[in-house]
Symmetry: D2
Subunit: 359 residues, 4 copies
């Protein structure tokens, strides 16, 4: 179950403090130019230690692509890749060998498998998402050849919320600040909230908004693989995700149909069918209709606090965990490239599946 | 892609106005007592025409189980079933043959397949969810043998919201009113909102809350098949669903870690590990921890209005659709058993998968 | 696991003596003309009681297609179908409730599931293959639109073997005799062998040869889903199949490379790449090369003898089974349409998958 | 499609002359002791250059396991692994950049993907099977904990055939000679045949027999995933495989039912159900019955001859390929560990799936 997708499929492996993480990207169409350096650049956006907002762990996170590409072009064969682990402070984790940290996966993994790699979360660590970013960086390059683009940004951190829909944001500003929020003023307030949490040895959650443009009409499969169902699964599989909605989302469901139905019209520029409004979020009946897809993903505050925490160990004894290691006070900025990666892989998979729906 | 699940798998077929709908339920463990009448009763809860809140279409929706059960016990072989379609007012739909109704699947299906069954939504009709209820009714009976229980209720309709978490509701009251809200006073207000919408030829959306109790710790698969990812996909595959969150959900993501972490403790009654609070919603690291799982699903207002609607046809001409046929002003009450069915099937599938994780 | 295929996928259900058998055909491309009567005609070729060579059971085996087709054209949605069971002589099977018939599935199912439907083999009955023929009849019609054709014939019954490769046979004669062997003289000897076996209350096995023409180059997926691997799985999933080989097969593996390598050449008529010989059987490296695909499937003699048989019951007691019911003395003629169906579904699935391999 | 299996699943990547090959082994149950050195030893049995019968290429084929194992015990998480490629004589392959070698995958890959890695076969090289051996070596260790054992041997090379069934062979002698045939005299004749072929710049094929003991009754899934169907797919996915049969196989299908039915009896030693004979090959109705499973896999002669070969290039021009590089004259001895690996992975997958068939 460490695979994602049907035709375009990413399989990942690796514990955070084992030898390496990596994966296999299967189903890349043949003959697509792949820029390996762009893959590394995407990975750098997710890397720890990139700003003061994120963990001070420094990992170079260098990806090595091992197959499936020759002379800069995809062969149609699987792309294997490895990212070596390098920053092993395993001693930091010794006290965790028998502890169940609150709201971590420690107890869950032990209950499931009878044992676990306690070092830094092992398989449950968000480090696994680096492999997703590699897969997404490949998917994105394939999608670009058919005009599909994917981006995401931080739209809420704690009580600070970016007002206005995605169409009111200046996408070029997203990476201009460490919060990855396209509004500089709002970003500054988000950074304050994160800094305040860190000073308190605390953490804070928020929301990432994702946008997919240029999706051709017709992607998504009735009935169980509706495009929104696939996107939801993709996003909710990211560590710390607690919620997903798309289009008008939760808020729109409180309204009347007459307020949120999207009238069809002919786009005068292209002559193609489009809608006057887009409460639908680019998907109707589980299938893309050619308008922008947009969605939100809620991420909980990081569970690891930098303060003493009472909990129990695997024998039920009460213990106190002392703060140790280096941790993000807020996962949101680094979640942005992961959301993008999952969106890109989802859309590419559905695009490839859709090619078999008509002869 | 008309299949759901890995080991326990439902495959469905059928257009709303074709000969029949139905499906195949694969992976039911052998030797489980199956009460066929309970399957029909579950189906009756989803049936149209059951109250004044729902469409006046009357369909008996009688399910016929064709295989996989002998002498009231599952054989381990697939259970095929058929529900005949009977209430064909296809004439009602003649004007829809070439129309793209706003926020319906008409245009999407045409874009994808090049043609569509225009009668009543065809495959995109929520009638397909009847097959899910059958699958869920079987899954539920299997789950009961291991102590897992699933229920859901309407927690919001338009602006009316049920206050308090699931643990504050009296489950026995859910089916006591046509809104399927466990608080009679709130239910009455929901009914008013629905009635008002109908009087206006309009519709209204809302939220269903689902609860799963008795889930053993250990269900859910890292990393892409986290339990919440599977639940999200299940719920977002239901017609009209626009959002999903679980545990503390979107609201909890605005908080600090210190506010929402769930301290571990030993349950004095059972001697087992549990948590003092349950912001996690019963899942940590993608894996159940033995506490209650709870989640919300947002449903948009029904797209079919009972008033003239301007739109375009498949040649781009502007047309006006006159209201015709019989439609729900609010899908929430009938969505409740569908949410339950999808939850039951998801949990059973994960439970069966988990049996292979240790020898 | 009652599903076959990835994109084009057949899911079946049904016990031989339950209410009905049937299935769901998913992944049929939209917009293909489907001749429903041809589906029934294919089914008639598999039907029991069609000649004196086969069982005297008479079942009309009428298929009812319930969805996925409108006005004779596929909608792209799943095609559900049901074949009612009608010829219930369940009394014939009463003595089998606790018996383990030699070389039947009785013991195997009991060991797996703890119980079984003993009536006529239940799920293990070859009656299930009727559902495959329906799926194959749909697949075949889709394949015809791209020029792919599938046929099969009986090439051996007991010691009688048809000499010469498929290219030396007159395909039009296959259905001209009850043995389904394209050589009338050989067919007559096969019929003698079958008649002799029946007179002795015995049974006899044989070989079916399958041929697929018009397959475009490029079908088949490295590395685990090589075209021959998929074909082998398809054929070996048919009841009573004991062996599969393709191209030069077992015999060719005794030879030297210089004897069996296929020289490439340009077909002067088409200007396309082809081979001077076809020991490869139309597949190289797991991928079709555009030449004819041919293969053999060995079927064991039917296990049910019409003579008293010593065996044990489910408590280990020795018992003698008296011959009862009506059974084929030789499965080969009726296996021919099943082999064709499995081949057609396999090729169509690979053809649809292949559409995603280049953008 | 570079994945094999459902619950226990191997995914592989890598071209023969790229940076590395490797894979991900998913679904290993947690808590199983894994001897990493045994994995390497299995790999050494497949390694080129191990005897004069095989290619003189020398590759150390050192596997590096990157995850999923801690302190010698499986974590239940995926085991990633890499085998670096090292013996790059890419110059040897320059003439192959545009050539279509007879009975190789060159043309097939070009037809499918529009381009190919021509160096040493790229993805179509049998080098990929090294990754299978790694997966098989892990599966084997899991299977041993439940008493299942797998082995294989060379039973035919060209015209030389080992007489007698597997139960008449001394398994301990298999690895005592480079032919991997358990009969020393027959092995000597096989070696002569291989040497003679090599002297002629030619190659020769043969048959590997596989045996699986200790399989519990109940493995295998009706109807499409019968145990023999899964085994056939596994074996036919190995490079150069042309045929598969099991139990009495092709030969037994020429006989009468009375000759090959297996009478049930109670094993006096164990008190369990068994059969007096085993023409069934340990499988009935697609499900294991607890007796030995045995099967044959036919491998064609290696297509690469060490003599000038006429063929065409990708523009249709006639060309002559000069012999170059180093190649096996016979693949059989090195196919033995691959057959074992595929058998082990197939059985383990079915064993894990079967755990969900009863509660």
């Amino acid at each position: 179950m460490n695979s994602f997708g049907t035709i375009f499929r990413l399989t990942t492996f690796g514990e955070s403090h084992g030898a390496a993480i990596g994966g296999v990207i299967d189903g890349v169409p043949a003959g697509v130019a792949i820029d390996v350096e762009r893959v590394q650049r995407e990975l750098d956006r997710r890397r720890p230690g990139q700003s003061r907002l994120t963990t001070s762990r420094r990992e170079s996170d260098t990806v090595r692509l091992l197959s499936g590409i020759m002379n800069g072009v995809s062969l149609g064969t699987p792309i294997g890749f490895v990212i070596e682990n390098e920053d092993h402070h395993s001693d930091d984790y010794q006290q965790l060998a028998s502890a169940f940290r609150p709201s971590h996966a420690d107890y869950a993994y032990t209950a499931k498998y009878g044992l676990r790699d306690h070092r830094g979360g092992g398989r449950s660590s968000a480090r696994e998402t680096a492999a997703r970013v590699v897969g997404g960086a490949i998917a994105r390059q394939v999608l670009e050849t058919v005009g599909v683009d994917v981006y995401a940004y931080t739209s809420a951190v704690g009580p600070v919320t970016l007002q206005g829909g995605y169409e009111q944001q200046d996408r070029r500003l997203i990476d201009s600040n460490p919060a990855r929020c396209p509004d500089e003023a709002v970003a500054a307030r988000m950074i304050e909230v994160i800094d305040a949490a860190r000073r308190d040895g605390d953490t804070v959650g928020g929301v990432v908004t994702g946008v997919i443009t240029g999706v051709p009409a017709g992607l998504g499969e009735p009935v169980f693989d509706k495009l929104q169902a696939r996107l939801a699964a993709a996003m909710m599989s990211i560590n710390a995700a607690k919620g997903f909605d798309y289009g008008m989302g939760f808020a729109g469901c409180r309204k009347r149909g007459s307020e949120v139905n999207d009238p069809f019209m002919i786009d005068s520029a292209t002559g193609r069918v489009t809608t006057a409004t887009n409460h639908s979020g680019g998907i109707q009946g589980g299938i893309s209709i050619g308008t922008d897809i947009y969605f939100n993903v809620a991420f909980k505050p990081v569970a690891t606090l930098m303060r003493p925490v009472e909990t129990i160990d695997n024998e039920g004894n009460k213990i106190v965990l002392e703060p140790r290691g280096r941790h993000d006070p807020c996962v949101l900025p680094r979640a942005v490239p992961v959301v993008e990666a999952m969106a890109a892989m989802t859309i590419l998979d559905m695009l490839l599946i859709n090619r078999s729906r008509r002869l």
